[in-house]
Amino acid sequence: MAKEIGADRLGDLYIDGGKVRRRREWRGLADTMYDYSRWLGIMATLGKFVMKPRNVKAMFRYRWMANYLAVPMMVDRHTQGLRGEYLRICHEEQDLVIKDVAKLLDSLFRGDRRIGNDTEFSKKVVLVDENEMTAVMMGFPTLKCLSRETPSTYVSVLLNQHAAEHYIDVAQEFGLAGDVCPMPEAEAGVSIDDDAPVLGACAIQCNTTCDGSLLGNGVISRRLEKEDGIPVFQLAAPLRHREDDVQEYAAQEIRNAIAFIEKHTGVKWDWKAYFECARRVNYATRCRQEWLEMNRTPWPQVFGSNLALYTETNYMAICGKVPEFERADRRITKLARQAYEKRKMAAKEYRHRAIVWGVQSHFYMDFLVWLLNCWGIVPLTDMLSMVSTRELKEEDTPENRETAIYDMAWLTENMIMRNRTHGGYRVLLDELWEFTQQFNADMVILWEHMSCKALTGMHGMFEDRARDLGIHLVWVDHDLFDPRIISRQGVRDQINNYMRTVMREEPLDPSLEVLHDEESW
């Protein structure tokens, strides 16, 4: 038990076959007290949530709600080994995301015809996909933009690695081939199982990340439109998003989506609200760029899951609509600058500087923390964090209103993941090697999400290029939502084997090399 970074054997905290760890981590008095106070804060958020009878009712109606018992454990997994500013940055992000998800759940159940059945509230709700850029909602401040898939599948798997298995099985029992991406597969499974809240004036779906996602929406919209009577607009975002000759199409889709929402909610687009959101998006972009700038130096500060999970939420789901995230951006940047000035490190030794590319295993999001603690590999940035850095127009003028439509279209085209997995090989393949140079990385950790056709379709070219450039390329296979295919230890073993056999290195913390966490949340 030590205050110093890297002095503890973190693997000793695990119980073989247990759901939770043996005990909380001792981080020295100040950090432990801080961590504990934030833990209490999370419990307060959860307590406030369950105080409402409708939310308790939802716990019994929706199978996936049981996963939310694991919220504190999820935060603990991501704060492993962290001290000082890193610990605080992690809590700033995670606690805010938790509050946001709690609000989302509360809103969903308030309007849900089976639970709260607040029909007036439901009329102000626009449903969106889980993986959808919500730019098209930036000018509707009085409407609620809610995603049902975020809590039922996306967050659930972050909380409990086994959360999606039931829904994957449901979809396959219904006849879906087992080789599609398990994320839209699980979302389709929720819909087939009729296990999603039913509410909303209308829904906006989008061909988000892949063919599977596009097609999975068809299963969901069928129930929404034909059984629940909720009209659906399918927003088609062009795949070749870097090409000039698709931008007008993308912009028109945004115009059509806004018109659809106005028609079904009776609420008019508010330009003032839009430009305020655009200003916040720009601020978030500047902060992210500053963090990435730091990560190019020997003293990276906001990286790993601190960067990945937060960017995913802030960039796509929030998209400037929630002021709290701007305040969090400011606090995180302040902490990062503070640590950078003191040349602080998040682990006792940084052995390798890595770019993490591909689609991460969702059931093991804290893998990046493990990578640092076990092997001293610093995940400087990841594919999902390398999103648009374009400045949006902030001033409300007639010209800017027209440009704003194209800005929203650009953001929608450049949703997380699809901005790399689609748009031609340049954005996926060529730019990876540009980033390795910019970040002075000596290693690429390449997630091979086995059902992601757009990614695995470049497998051979990744290998050829890495060989040509002399960069260590470590493949990490996984099946995104399904740890039955490749377990967390299976994921770790791929790194362990590479580090021992190719790099001939010993781990920084050997207790983390093999963990029996198959049953863990």
Binding site: A171, F174, G175, L176, A177, D179, V180, C181, A188, Q205, N207, C210, D211, G212, L214, L215, G216, N217, G218, V219, S221, R222, E225, V232, Q234, A236, P238, L239, R240, E243, D245, V246, E248, Y249, Q252, E253, N256, T421, H422, G424, Y425, L429, E448, M450, S451, K453, A454, T456, G457, M458, H459, G460, M461
Partner: protein, 400 residues
């Protein structure tokens, strides 16, 4: 039934990607435009001085190189194409045009480009990728036109000096329509109770129209149509059920042969490389430019599951129902190539909807690219045929 006079010739055309008619057309100076997806408007690839061939990889064996580059998780069609390209099997093509129809196809062609697997020794060779609409509406139509202009017409004009005027496009449509009318007329014989053409024969003929220069096929198709008018069907129908095959890419003639050898007559073909709706004529008027009309026809009739709006999704299933009725199908076989995401979902929903809402017996199967003589598939189709027969008996179909 007597063998069709040109069947062996058509079969022979399917034995090689670089078939004899392609070689002949190129010797005559025509530009060969390769493509890989049904969403690429065919008449625009068949302008005066050009002809199209949709890539296949006949007699595929090993796919090791394709699998190395694309992994074993991509569909075998794309892996087989890449393998064949790396072997130099498509070096006859003068350019390749592909839409981002599905991720796998896109990656397949991108790998061809990165590996410089096409265009050896051809200075004017080009790769073109195009965006295609995901919904059938005005916005989609505008996109389609722009993309066809930028990624088909302009590159053909700039690189090979091809006439891409409205008049040239109309000539191409006329030739395209002649082929479609002949295929339609030949296919109509499948509606007969005792069909005078098998599903296999029809598939071979249809497939040939996708891979060989159309102008050279027209006389052969005309002769085949005339021959069919007087062809005597077998006195005893050798088939026990009539099925419609619906689904993803099928360019493997053995698949249809296997289904028919298992007792099911393939009376209708709603799959990529099939005739429904791929061989529907495009009716042009004089008021609007031909490009717009072609794009609209492709967009509105398109049955590809990547079309994501509800109206199109519903229309896919009603189309299957309408065709099944028109061609007198007793049952429907939904097939998908393994690892095909779009058809994995469409097969799941379509098979439920056609069974539960439209009342058809449905078999849903996934299959490899080259099926050869798969015992598993044969067993499944045989069992399906038996189930159709049992249902017919239970309904009293046999004893009135």
């Amino acid at each position: 039934m007597r063998d069709l006079k040109h069947l062996i010739f058509f079969e022979d055309l399917l034995q090689e990607a670089n078939n004899r008619l392609i070689q002949q057309a190129q010797q005559e100076g025509d530009v060969c435009v390769a493509y890989v997806c049904e969403n690429t408007p065919e008449p625009l690839l068949n302008l005066p001085g050009t002809f199209s061939t949709r890539l296949r990889a006949p007699r595929t064996g090993s796919m090791e190189i394709g699998t190395y580059y694309l992994t074993s998780f991509l569909c075998e069609y794309t892996r087989a194409l890449l393998e064949r390209a790396v072997e130099g099997g498509y070096n006859f093509a003068d350019c390749i045009i592909t839409p981002d129809g599905c991720s796998m196809m896109n990656r397949c062609v991108e790998n061809m480009e990165l590996l410089k697997a096409l265009g050896a020794g051809k200075d004017k060779f080009f790769f073109e990728y195009m965006e295609i609409p995901m919904k059938s509406d005005d916005n989609g139509l505008n996109l389609y036109k722009l993309q066809c202009t930028n990624h088909i017409l302009n590159p053909l004009r700039d690189n090979y000096g091809i006439d891409v005027s409205d008049a040239a496009i109309r000539r191409a449509v006329a030739e395209h329509n002649r082929v479609c009318e002949l295929i339609r007329a030949i296919g109509d014989f499948r509606k007969e109770e005792k069909p005078r053409i098998t599903g296999y024969e029809f598939h071979v003929i249809t497939l040939a129209t996708y891979v060989a220069p159309k102008r050279m096929l027209i006389p052969l198709l005309e002769e085949t149509l005339e021959e069919l008018k007087t062809r005597e069907p077998d006195p005893v129908n050798p088939f026990r059920a009539r099925v419609m095959v619906v689904g993803s890419e099928v360019d493997d003639i053995d698949f249809i042969k296997l289904v028919e050898n298992s007792g099911a007559f393939v009376c209708a073909d709603r799959f990529c490389y099939g005739s429904l709706p791929g061989r529907d004529p495009i009716v042009l008027n004089d008021e609007e430019d031909a490009l717009t009309q072609i794009c609209r026809a492709y967009m509105e009739r398109g049955q590809c599951p990547r079309y994501m709006n509800t109206a199109k999704m519903d229309a896919r299933r009603t189309y299957v129902n309408a065709m099944a009725k028109e061609y007198g199908a007793d049952g429907i076989i939904y097939e998908q190539m393994k690892f095909c995401d779009p058809w994995a979902y469409e097969k799941m929903l379509g098979s439920h909807i056609l069974r539960e809402e439209f009342g058809y017996p449905v078999l849903a199967v996934d299959r490899p690219y080259a099926i050869a003589s798969s015992g598993q598939m044969r067993t499944r189709v045989q069992a399906f045929v038996e189930s159709i027969e049992i249902k017919t008996i239970q309904r009293g179909g046999n004893n009135g």
